[in-house]
Symmetry: C2
Subunit: 323 residues, 2 copies
Amino acid sequence: MFTFHTQKYFSFNKFLFLSICSLVLFTESISSQETLAEKLGYQKDAKLLIVHADDLGLAHAENMATIKSLEKGVVNSSSIIMPAPWVSEIANYAKKNNNAQDLGLHLTITAEWKNYKWGPVASKEKVPSLINEQGYFFEECPSNASVAEVETELRAQIELAYAMGIKPTHLDSHMGCLFWGNLKFFEVYLKLAREYGLPCLVDKSFGSLFPSEDAFQQLLKDQDVMVVLDQDFTISEEQYAEGPEQYYTSTLRSLEPGLTQFLIHTAYDNDEMQAITIDHPSWGAAWRQADFDFFTSDVCKQIIKEERIILVTWREISKVLKN
Amino acid sequence: MFTFHTQKYFSFNKFLFLSICSLVLFTESISSQETLAEKLGYQKDAKLLIVHADDLGLAHAENMATIKSLEKGVVNSSSIIMPAPWVSEIANYAKKNNNAQDLGLHLTITAEWKNYKWGPVASKEKVPSLINEQGYFFEECPSNASVAEVETELRAQIELAYAMGIKPTHLDSHMGCLFWGNLKFFEVYLKLAREYGLPCLVDKSFGSLFPSEDAFQQLLKDQDVMVVLDQDFTISEEQYAEGPEQYYTSTLRSLEPGLTQFLIHTAYDNDEMQAITIDHPSWGAAWRQADFDFFTSDVCKQIIKEERIILVTWREISKVLKN
């Protein structure tokens, strides 16, 4: 879930933030002479799209809907909450399918649901600042947690993925805690992405979190970072209220050339999801069903065809960036 | 779940074992002059029954069905898997209801389901012999695990229950790992029951696990134990295949005087439970739905009425034993 639980911690509007932000891929440095689209074999002004479903491992209903949307819909990428209870179901799927799907790690340091909890992958004694008195993650981003402990936990999540037979294609951050929680967390995130050779999602708007835009640019430079101008969309509560199909349709119809990512959440609106998301209609069960319905619909496929949108994955991008 | 996953570890038939065994309550010593039935205010030859649903906290479907069976059915006791993901839902229920229900702790050192996992409540570093390389509990009873680590983990589970606002009424053992896994585990179980002042379920047939029956009797004596002759029933795979209603009906119709416990598992046969119990028809989703159906039925209530069976709880028993 790429949510806005963290709003109380930040003054800026993250809906707007995400809607206008660009996407940055952290990976090996490449020549700036050629666009990503060209490297992938498309026209310079091609409209490339990743349709990315967050929160695999959260629930059986999330796993099943997301797998179906990856196999039958236009969803072509997803990422996994490693501390969540249903991760083994995804690991078994990944192994059975020879890790054919685009599966990233949705690095997670929160357990935000009221009645359904998880704690760290690392030993609790090693990450005391990340857990509440019951041993679970906090519901909100723990912005004042120990940076060293965040690194310990994120490293444990990545190592667990490999130990379970998952070959992650990329990294991102659940609830954005590694982006807007603490600048030092962001640096850990970049460090681990480089260390494991995994591309990771970054907004270039993150520059606003740094003492200066220059300092941010320097960090990108020091990381041998390739910046791919892009757009990154996720539906807001207001847009959901107006109708998901309307929002997604208009956004796809007006897609700009370059690389765009849709961050969505696909699950079934059943007893399990309704119970997990109780008291939380935003990113709730019906919301996730609506995402599933649109991105597995013929309407969506037709729009993508008519708009000549090209679906690309993190795996494909990673390969050309590494060549 | 009071299951027979552990069959490979033991040569005796636990179905038979449970069907013929008696129930022993470990609590403060009391006079042997008066029967439990009399202490509770009933005739000496009264038929007392606890209908006990295991595995609270396992799943939303398990929680909802068990709460309904506690509130509307004849189920009058239950116990909680503290390391499981849905424990917060039960803790919130217990607090909201001022711990009015009979809720014990189903002490757990296994994670037996294929796609749905949990690990220890204690810090993983403190209980390395209880976890696999992924940090989850093993699927089978870890009979060779460190006894000290078992104590650490069980203590953590009991402490977590209190920290979450649950006031446990009794202790028992998930999959019987503390009974037939290792005699030293059984001693830890008794020790913690005494330390926390909680009655715990024991079969007097456990004597067969000791070097001699005398040694077992001595252990009971040293623990100031009150032995309540009783019967303890759980449905076997063969009995389930023949029809749960038939088994439960005939067992209730032939109930002996004294204290009897039925160990059952109440959940809904829905997507969530089917996914959790995948590849495991015994104690599966349909099995749990059948338990729910029978023990919330008018047929069951009528049999209990006709047979003059008196429903008693661990809480009630604990009170009279302590007086």
